[in-house]
Amino acid sequence: MNNPFRVLAVPFFASGFAALIYQVAWQRLLFVALGVDIESVTIIVSTFMLGLGIGALAGGRLSDKLPDRTLELFFTAEFLIGIFGLASPHLIGYVGTLTIDEPRIIIAGANFLLLLLPTTMMGATLPILVAYMVRSNGNVGLSIGGLYFINTLGASLGALSVGFLLFYYFDLYIVIYLAATINLLVSAFILASFKLRSL
């Protein structure tokens, strides 16, 4: 593969697009359970970040242990995010109902555990793909700069679309299902493009 960036650019852009849809939409769902005060916002942001952090650490290490299966890891991450996305509206609602009478720390912990899977997967994708590219071009800054650029650009479009378009046409659940569909399409694209079995 001479230039993996060309193949990765579109799916990683789409992945960033879906991620920001989740962030905004899940935040709205969690507000119902947690409230809309500053404490709730902080809990939600920290939960997201903590999951991304764990994913970041895990992604690089996995990539080193399985250097020849990087794209399978990316496929798995996107597929799992998509599957979780489909179930997420009901899961978040269920956990919210289950923990409504619990102290705030228990509610925060339960939601953290719930979102741990998708946020870890989201956090893992960047180091996985950067490591993959560095093995081709030998330049960390060039690889991470390029991938981060395309992923964040997708995220930006996701943020803009949610507030200025998607919420005008669809309700929260449909918007989340849309993001899940994008993740599943990305995983299908990776599967098809790289013919996983031969990698």
Binding site: L20, V24, R28, F31, V32, L34, G35, V36, D37, I38, E39, V41, T42, V45, S46, M49, L50, G53, A56, L57, A58, G59, G60, R61, L62, S63, D64, P67, I100, D101, L126, P127, V130, A131, V134, G138, N139, V140, G141, L142, I144, G145, Y148, F149, I150, T152, L153, A155, S156, A159, L160, V162, G163, L165, F167, Y168, Y169, D171, L172, Y173
Partner: protein
């Protein structure tokens, strides 16, 4: 942990802190319009993407990345220091929003240039541990990005003004830049860059104390002076001094109400509250959702037979304001009042056994961010479970027909009076003579709420007592260009589809019809 790891962490911290501050400024400037969050977030992310792209270019060149990074961070710091001044101009008018987007993009880009640089400096480029070394530096960035919102959103904004927080981020960027310059290969170049950077920072000092909040604050049409300004982590409140009459409280830069309960001038339109005293025979337990100026709470306390008033208010800053006005401050010390600083919906869910004769919600405009949780059908049904037999829920619709429709769906009996909707499980009737007697018994403190002339035929008390409440069903049977619909937690109708923001004419075809567009 080496320097690049700390660099990655610090850039994440400063960047996310700055994003939070931009969101706060944008939300304040546009009164909590829900789209502003998307606008700022999208602009900021474009900035981060561009910064990463530029940083990538630096990494591909054979240059001293410590010198380059130090220079970039000094510039980022100077930009931060000027942000209060810049934002006080670009956030002032909607026509300047594209310029605001450019400012936000620039402010994010200058910091995120450091993202690839930190990874380039801190990761091994060969060997079997490439992934691990990359993710270690990336993890540092996420740790910083986690603590940025925590420290800034939770601590700094509760102890410093928004403007001071922005200045602190600017100073942080400049200090981080200086630390990078110390490690540059060429001392001469590093000192030159530092001197130029700090001279620029000092030169721009006259613009750094911009008074951004005062400049963006809504002062109404006649530019009223601000009396009090309260900033905390929950939001920004200010009070205005009108040419005559009672002060006005502005919460999150939109009108909240007047400080006062005088029924002769009646700027708060308190007839909407007194209607409840007129129609309910014995309102002993009352819940107030959203305290704001305290005027409505004071009125409820004076209803004949009022024994206990629970108030749920999300922003404790209102208490600071109320304490400063002797017209409303007595409510704080009234033993019948219990004030709960909490999210109303959460508080209701956690107090399922609390029942009330009256629930009064005079919160804020139907188009503001996250208002859905206080106007959706799910919430109205929750309110219904907190009513005593014969109890009434009163909600300010702020002109939204969707809220009327939603209340009608949640309660068998729903009526409109002025901007309010009253919902109940029993029919609400007005008996003029009885209503006049009850209104006559209403008090503010130990004084009667209404003067004798208020009971004359043209008087406000007489008008309240003789008003026939209009059933919502009748009202909604009138055909409108866009039919109102039931608001749910999922459709967030009044924030987006039927919200304040109406697309300009060339883009109308993209959007579903909005009643405001007619």
């Amino acid at each position: 942990m080496n320097f690049p790891w700390w660099l990655s962490l610090s850039v994440g911290f400063l960047s996310l802190s700055q994003e939070i501050l931009w969101v706060r400024l944008g939300a304040f400037a546009y009164g909590g319009l829900p789209h502003i969050f998307s606008f700022v977030l999208a602009s900021y992310l474009v900035g981060i993407a561009l910064g990463a792209h530029i940083g990538k270019w630096f990494c591909s060149k054979k240059m001293d990345l410590y010198l380059t990074g130090g220079l970039v961070l000094l510039l980022a710091g100077i930009f931060d220091l000027l942000t209060p001044w810049i934002s006080s101009i670009v956030l002032k008018r909607p026509v300047l929003l594209p310029v605001a987007a450019l400012a936000i993009i620039a402010s994010a880009a200058v910091k995120s240039i450091l993202f690839p640089i930190a990874h380039h400096l801190g990761s091994s480029r060969t060997g079997t541990k490439i992934g691990t070394s990359i993710s270690n530096v990336y993890f540092g960035n996420i740790v910083g990005s986690t603590f940025g919102p925590l420290v800034t959103g939770f601590y700094l904004l509760d102890n410093f003004t928004t403007e001071q927080c922005i200045i602190l981020v600017g100073i942080g960027s400049m200090l981080l830049g200086t630390l990078m310059l110390i490690q540059a290969k060429s001392w001469k170049q590093a000192i030159t860059v530092a001197v130029v950077g700090y001279v620029l920072a000092v030169t721009t000092m006259p613009w750094q104390r911009a008074g951004v909040i005062e400049k963006l604050a809504d002062r109404q049409n006649d530019n009223k002076p601000i009396r009090y300004l309260v900033e905390n982590k929950h939001g920004i409140l200010h009070t205005l001094v009108p040419a005559s009459g009672e002060d006005i409280i502005i919460g999150g830069n939109v009108y909240d109400g007047h400080v006062g309960t005088d029924m002769s001038s009646n700027p708060n339109h308190l007839e909407r509250a007194y209607m409840l005293a007129a129609v309910h025979p014995s309102p002993r337990r009352i819940l107030i959702v959203g305290m704001s100026t305290g005027a409505w709470t004071l009125v409820a306390l004076g209803f004949p037979g009022a024994e206990h008033v629970d108030v749920v208010e999300i922003n404790p800053g209102y208490l600071n304001i109320i304490k400063r006005y002797e017209e409303v401050s007595p409510l704080i010390d009234d033993s019948r009042v219990q004030i709960h600083i909490d999210d109303a919906r959460r508080w209701l869910k956690r107090n399922p056994t609390s029942k009330y004769d009256l629930i009064i919600q005079n919160t804020t405009f139907h188009w503001r961010s996250n208002i859905t949780s206080l106007v959706s059908i799910e919430y109205f049904k929750e309110l219904g479970t907190h009513l005593n037999p014969g109890g009434i829920v009163a909600v300010n619709t702020t002109g939204s027909r969707d809220i009327l429709k939603t209340a009608q769906a949640a309660f068998p009996y729903a009526y409109k009076f002025a901007s309010f909707v009253y919902g109940s499980f029993v029919e609400i009737k007005t008996e003029p003579a009885e209503a006049m007697r009850r209104l006559n018994d209403c008090k503010i403190g130990s004084t009667r709420a209404f003067l004798p002339q208020h009971f004359d035929e043209e008087g406000v008390a007489y008008q309240i007592a003789h008003t026939t409440l209009e059933p919502v069903e009748t009202l909604l049977s009138v055909t409108a260009p866009v039919s109102p619909a039931i608001i749910t937690d999922r459709n967030m109708l009044t924030e987006f589809r039927h919200g304040k923001l109406v697309a300009p004419q060339p883009l109308r075809w993209v959007y579903p019809p909005n009643p405001r567009a007619y």
